[in-house]
């Protein structure tokens, strides 16, 4: 039992590596924060977005974060919509933005509870039995373990709560991706005006989310030496999941491009031409073929579902997922119904500025900081659950 506790919790300490890594993140954070302050001071003009392409990197990034269900999406939401308080003060029930803010808040709270609840017994066990628990973390664990004694009534409450949350998170997750897709699909723009945008985004989120989980699994396994607990079998199974969801996503992609491509209505034709052979063609084909088709084919082979190759494939898939959001957001804005005339050249073509890229990076850095902190202070893999799976009772052995 002690070994399990040690294995799963030995990473909870502040070593040299942690400080180096956090120092690096903090430096990068400050550099990017400077960019953000510039934007607050001089306005969005420091970014490359202009009147026609008015949503650029920021919104693409926001959609990506929603898709990969990272905590960063909340930060991103704050970055993107300054004056969030206003949204609630004058909120219009008819606006998809209100729905999105509502759904994201709800989803965030449910996720937080789902992260916290299974950890309560762990924290009680670690508080009592993990000798290496940093002393300054002890009071935190004591408070957060909520006087856990493994009382049957306590177990009943936790299990019932988790059960309800697991039911709640399904509609919440579907809503978060669907409502985010509606930010686009509820307009009349060619490229966005689509009835399948909801499921298209949901399936896309499954792909990005699964890839992100695989990368995180690999990273924790390597750095926190959890090989015995995150086995090749886990990776193999995750690989299968990724193949399945990628197939579904491919199916929606075919629908999304073939149906308007067959009819070639005027505005749709311009949009598709720009994507497939125009300004965005290189990105488009790299994303579709390199980021979706080839990974699917590769992952069909068992060898490719081993931890390292699967992680590499997942990284490619995740990067492609980011660019896919860019391709959904930007080209549709570049070609509105009416011609773009008598405006400066930088209104016609969008190219992100350095400041814009730095602010986008800022959100990634924040995500990394949050993940690092959480994984440094709390067990990544549930200790008690693992113990019980192996027929051990952590608290009982404690009492004996």
């Amino acid at each position: 039992m002690d070994q399990i506790i040690n294995d799963l919790s030995h990473h909870i300490r502040l070593n040299k590596g942690f400080f180096l890594w956090m120092g690096f993140l903090a430096l990068a954070f400050l550099a990017c924060l400077y960019a953000y302050i510039q934007q607050l001071r001089y306005g969005l003009g420091v970014a490359g977005i202009r009147d026609y392409i008015s949503w650029g990197l920021y919104i693409s990034n926001f959609v990506f974060f929603v898709a990969s269900s990272l905590i960063g999406m909340l930060i991103s939401a704050v970055l993107g919509l300054i004056g969030l308080a206003y949204v609630f003060l004058y909120a219009r029930f008819q606006s998809p933005i209100l729905w999105d803010v509502t759904v994201i808040t709800t989803y965030f709270v449910i996720s937080l509870l789902l992260l916290f609840l299974p950890m309560i017994p762990d924290m009680a066990v670690l508080y009592k039995r993990f000798a290496n628990l940093p002393s300054w973390l002890k009071p935190v664990y004591k408070v957060l373990s909520l006087n856990w004694t493994d009382h049957p009534e306590q177990n009943r409450i936790i299990h019932r709560s988790i059960y309800i949350l697991l039911i709640l998170i399904i509609p919440a997750a579907l809503s978060i991706h669907t409502v985010t897709s509606w930010l686009f699909a509820l307009t009349v723009r060619p490229g966005w005006d689509s009835t399948i945008f909801g499921p298209y985004f949901v399936s896309g989120a499954f792909v990005a989310g699964s890839a992100a989980v695989i990368i995180a699994m690999f990273f924790f396994r390597k750095n926190y030496k959890l090989q015995d607990y995150l086995t090749d079998l886990h990776f193999n199974n995750m690989g299968k999941v990724l193949v399945l969801v990628a197939f579904v996503y491919l199916y929606f992609n075919i629908n999304e491009y073939l149906v308007p491509g067959y009819k070639l209505k005027r505005a749709d034709a311009v949009h598709l031409k720009e994507l497939m052979s125009g300004h965005f063609a290189l990105t488009f084909w790299l994303v579709q073929v390199g980021g979706l088709l080839i990974p699917i084919v590769l992952m069909l082979f068992r060898k490719m579902r081993k931890p390292l190759p699967l992680t590499l494939i997942s990284i490619v898939v995740l990067i492609a997922a980011w660019f896919k959001r860019y391709l959904i957001v930007v080209p549709a804005m570049a070609h509105p119904f009416l011609p773009v005339q008598h405006v400066p050249d930088n209104f016609k073509v969008y190219s992100p500025t350095l400041i814009e890229i730095a602010i986008t990076l800022l959100s990634f850095i924040l995500v990394l900081i949050i993940i690092t902190l959480i994984s440094k202070f709390f067990p990544v893999i549930p200790v008690v659950e693992t113990a019980k799976e192996k027929g051990l009772d952590p608290l009982k052995s404690n009492e004996s």
């Binding site: 919509l81 206003y86 009416l338 011609p339």
Partner: protein, 321 residues
Amino acid sequence: MDENTVENRDEQDPSKSSRRNFLKNIGLLGAGVAAGAGALYSGDIFEKKKAATGESRVLLTQDNKLVEVDSLELKALSKNPTKLMLEKGREGIEGRRWVMVIDLSKCRNARRCIAACQEAHQLKPEQYHLNTLQMQDSPGTAPYQMPKNCQHCDNPPCVSVCPVDATYKRGDGIVLIDNERCIGCRFCMAACPYSARIFHWTAPKDSDKHHGEAYNVELNVPQKLGTISKCLFSADRCREGKLPYCVSACPNGVYYFGDENEDAVTNGTTKETVRLSKLLRDNGAYQLMPELGTKPRVYYLPPKNRLFPFEPATDESPKEG
């Protein structure tokens, strides 16, 4: 029943009862003082009026009536002028439904309308509430110049998506923006199929000069960094009974503007007023992308029997200011 018991309890409790009476008395006293003061005040005003008559001012009321008021009766509104204008701007002019007709056969891209508009709304050269576009519907048809502004749709997709009621439609048809409330999410820009909206990416034109001025929602002035702006059908001019800035500035008689309920539009150049229904019928009027269901309030007359030959625009695109 309840009241009764309360009454009884009050009577049983002499301290409470007396307190109530005391309050009552205070109330009476207050009312008396107020009435007296009011009488005194009005008397004072009357005296002053007697003392200095003759200095009268002609003012335009909200319902567009000219009234003559003695200058003494005028007092500055204690209310914040921005707030006052915001409230006024939320309500349209009663009984009106503004409508614009653009005669494409007369447009020769003089761009006077654009200049007048940018001047009135404090816009930079690259910021258009109104822009003239070179159009060609298909390779076989002739090109033409098309002034394009906000269509003030009766089913405005931009207003639907606004999260905070910052952009709104009024009873008289005008779609306005409250820049004080706009959070700058740009969803309305994404939703507008006519690319009618602009955003203040950088500090607006002469923003230092206009800093601190009262905000006029019917003019979108002073413009505000990080918010949306667009054509307002010159809501401020409509209130005064004047034609919009662009309409009056056109040298070629392209624009008609008027009230659909009156079935009349007035040409901005010739000042000739004609029947809207007849103008639309006789010229085969159409709307921009009616298939989108936006129900625009702007009509176009097709570019037939043109007064001027088509000349491609030669002016360079403005640099970003």
